[in-house]
């Protein structure tokens, strides 16, 4: 027997609190979406009305309006809750209970519901009476699920909710820290506690969230990703220390909280270490240190298909690849040819003289163009009034330099040099 709890339109945090409280009713809770959950009550003593009474008593402190229903399947329990709060759907009665209910109960999308309404079908009973084959052929594969649900047949599996493990350590009210040595001493103590808790739970942390509370009542939060999830105190301290390098605070620190996130099951598959193996943890510390010093994100480039030169690549945050992936057998040998590299320059206007429709002299003082490739026209999404296309050229000038220039509107620009 399943118990349906319907409590729509509540914040996620409150819903999570409610789900945590439901653990006292049943250990198996299926969190379908915020506002809808099912409890598996098999093997739990009592009758459905008793279970509902117990649920209401446990959730009473949250002051959340609820609708409860019980049934053999999810759709039966949900129909019972929707039909009337506290209803119990007996075995084999689901179809009859569903008949007067609206189509929205089986999650029919709005467009399809409108189409069905125009066809005179606005209750689940009408839907259940339609012939299965023609209905599915007309409304697509998802219609088969709607039809089955309207008939009280629900094969949706029960997916128990995982229990979130909160591993955190905090230090407040123990005085104030004015220099970094005191802060790192306290951090080391907190990370030792975190490491012990992680070890106890058999977990590794993928991220650390560090909250620093200052004497002037401000709080600074640092999200610290760990390249390779770990439970080692030393590794975590290295990364935190690197992240805080060069950071100054306007007031003394009076509180610290460290929370481990991105928890994974413990145990890391380590290959035999050789001299050339890189350690993801070292990479993480390096990235944190670089970001602290440079004040910019350490990046990784990605290419993508695009017409415009500047849109053919983008950057995202660097994440160390898996050690095993890097240590895999290397790719085949490269050929002897090397590929010319374009070096981008800040776009700047350049003097160009045109002869017979081609750039003939470039720069100031002008240098004759020896070779010219192009133009390649690129359409742009410009602002109103701006030219919507530009013509790009590769030119070789007298002194051997290879330039990428382009012509947009009445002006010429230098975009880069080949090297």
């Amino acid at each position: 027997m399943l118990l349906c709890i319907s409590a729509p339109d509540h914040p996620r945090a409150l819903w999570e609190e409610l789900l945590d409280a439901l653990d006292a009713v049943s250990p198996l809770v299926d969190d379908v979406r915020p506002g809808l959950a099912f409890l598996d009550m098999r093997g739990i003593a009592g009758t459905p009305p008793e279970w509902m009474a117990r649920t209401r008593a446990i959730l009473a402190p949250l002051k959340v309006p609820l609708r409860l229903g019980a049934g053999d399947t999810k759709i039966a329990a949900r129909a019972a809750a929707h039909f009337n709060d506290g209803t119990v759907c007996a075995a084999g009665r689901a179809r009859a209970l569903l008949a007067p209910l609206p189509l929205a109960l089986v999650d029919v999308d709005r467009d399809t519901a409108e189409r069905l309404r125009l066809l005179g079908i606005d209750r689940l009973g009408d839907l259940a009476r339609l012939p299965h084959g023609p209905f599915v052929r007309r409304f697509g594969p998802q219609a088969a699920r709607w039809h089955a649900l309207a008939n009280g047949i629900d094969r949706t599996p029960f997916v128990p909710r995982g229990h979130a493990v909160a591993i955190e350590a905090a230090l407040f009210g123990e005085g104030r820290a004015d220099d970094e040595a005191q802060v790192f001493f306290a951090l080391r103590m907190l990370l030792a506690r975190i490491a012990t808790d992680l070890e106890r739970c058999g977990k590794r942390a993928g991220t650390l969230a560090l909250d620093l509370e200052l004497e002037d009542a401000h709080t600074h939060r640092f999200e610290i990703p760990l390249a390779s999830p770990t439970a080692q105190e030393r590794a975590m301290l290295d990364v935190v220390r690197a992240k805080l390098e060069g950071v100054t605070f306007p007031a003394a620190i009076v509180g610290l909280r460290v929370r481990a996130g991105g928890l994974e099951e413990g145990g890391e598959a380590l290959p035999l270490i050789t001299g050339d193996d890189f350690d993801p943890q070292i990479v993480a510390v390096t990235i944190a240190r670089l970001e602290a010093v440079l004040g910019a994100t350490v990046r990784r480039a990605r290419t993508r298909p695009a017409h415009v030169l500047e849109e053919r690549f983008e950057y995202d945050r660097f994440e160390a690849p898996q050690r095993t992936a890097v240590a895999a057998p290397p790719a085949p040998e490269l050929s002897e040819a090397i590929v010319p590299q374009l070096r981008l320059l800040t776009v700047a206007e350049i003097a160009v003289q045109v002869r017979r429709g081609e750039p003939a002299f470039v720069g100031d003082p002008p240098q004759a163009v020896l070779e010219c490739a192009g133009p390649w026209r690129i359409e742009l999404d410009g602002f109103p009034g701006e030219p919507l296309a530009r013509d790009e050229y590769d030119v070789v000038i007298e002194d051997g330099r290879r330039c990428r220039i382009y012509h947009q509107g009445p002006h010429w620009y230098l975009r880069g040099l080949y090297d």
């Binding site: 050339d276 070292i282 510390v285 390096t286 990235i287 240190r289 670089l290 010093v293 440079l294 910019a296 994100t297 350490v298 990046r299 990784r300 480039a301 990605r302 290419t303 030169l309 500047e310 053919r312 950057y315 660097f318 160390a320 690849p321 890097v326 290397p330 790719a331 040998e333 490269l334 002897e336 040819a337 090397i338 590929v339 010319p340 590299q341 374009l342 070096r343 981008l344 320059l345 800040t346 700047a348 081609e358 720069g363 003082p365 240098q367 020896l370 070779e371 490739a373 192009g374 590769d394 070789v396 007298e398 002194d399 051997g400 330099r401 290879r402 880069g416 040099l417 080949y418 090297d419």
Partner: protein, 259 residues
């Protein structure tokens, strides 16, 4: 005192052996001794590797100088290194990643640290070398004091990381700290197709001269020629020789800051 007996004339066989030894020594004087395989990163360009004694030495500060092909050669080394390890680029904003991909670089193994000032570049290189996380660190050479270059060279040596500085002409502090100085010069440009829309600049022939090589017994007069070519099917290949020295007309254009 009796006079010394005259020194006996060597036999013809001994004379021939001596002449052969002398000729052999003269011949090997200009050759670069081969370095141990585990101490070099080969560029996989046979002529260049021969000139360098097997490849670019690990744990060294190397300068790529000249007017053409420096970044192309650097991209080639990146491609070699990222086949089995991580590499890093201290980027002054001029990086064009699609070009690296065409050169065979695995971008997911390249850590890009944006640094637009000389100080930031030096600090980034310092951190990267100390960490030993990457096998190759590539940077444009900013104007730094001799002590900074010396420290970076020492760090590269300790970490066993190849630090490559790309520069038009190394200033005295960099030239002194560098283990290897390689000068790249443009010889010919290679085009495919005729002029205009049907023409593409596909590469060039560059010559590389080893100006200094501490690990291979000083400045070896070694040359290597690299011909880059990305042939298009059916396209006519043309070459053009450029004789004039590059001017400083474009030196004032700053590298782009791409974020």
């Amino acid at each position: 005192m009796a006079p010394l007996a005259p020194f006996p004339e060597p036999s013809p066989a001994r004379r021939e052996a001596f002449a052969a030894l002398k000729a052999g020594l003269n011949q090997s004087a200009g050759a670069v001794p081969r370095l141990a395989a585990e101490t070099v990163i080969p560029s996989a360009i046979s002529t260049l590797d021969r000139a360098l004694g097997g490849g670019f030495p690990r744990g060294a500060l190397v300068t790529l100088e000249g007017n053409a092909g420096r970044w192309s050669l650097a991209a080639r080394l990146l491609a070699q290194v990222t086949r089995g390890a991580l590499a890093a680029i201290v980027d002054d904003g001029g990086l064009y990643p699609p070009g690296l991909v065409r050169a065979g670089v695995r971008l997911d193994r390249v850590l890009i640290a944006p640094a637009t000032t000389a100080l930031a570049t030096a600090r980034a290189a310092d951190i990267l070398l100390r960490s030993r996380a990457c096998r190759l660190v590539l940077m444009s050479a900013p104007d730094l004091r001799a002590a900074v270059w010396s420290r970076l060279a020492t760090l590269a040596h300790r970490a066993g990381v190849l630090l490559i500085a790309v520069v038009a002409r190394a200033a005295a502090p960099l030239a002194a700290a560098a283990t290897l100085r390689l000068d790249c010069a443009l010889e010919r440009l290679i085009f495919h197709g005729t002029r205009g829309l049907w023409c593409t600049f596909s590469g060039y022939q560059i010559s590389m001269r080893v100006r200094k090589h501490q690990r291979a017994g000083g400045a070896a007069p070694a040359h290597a020629r690299v011909r880059a070519a990305t042939a298009l099917d059916g396209a006519v290949e043309r070459e053009r020789t450029v004789t004039r020295e590059p001017s400083s007309a474009f030196e004032n254009y700053a590298h782009a800051t791409v974020h």
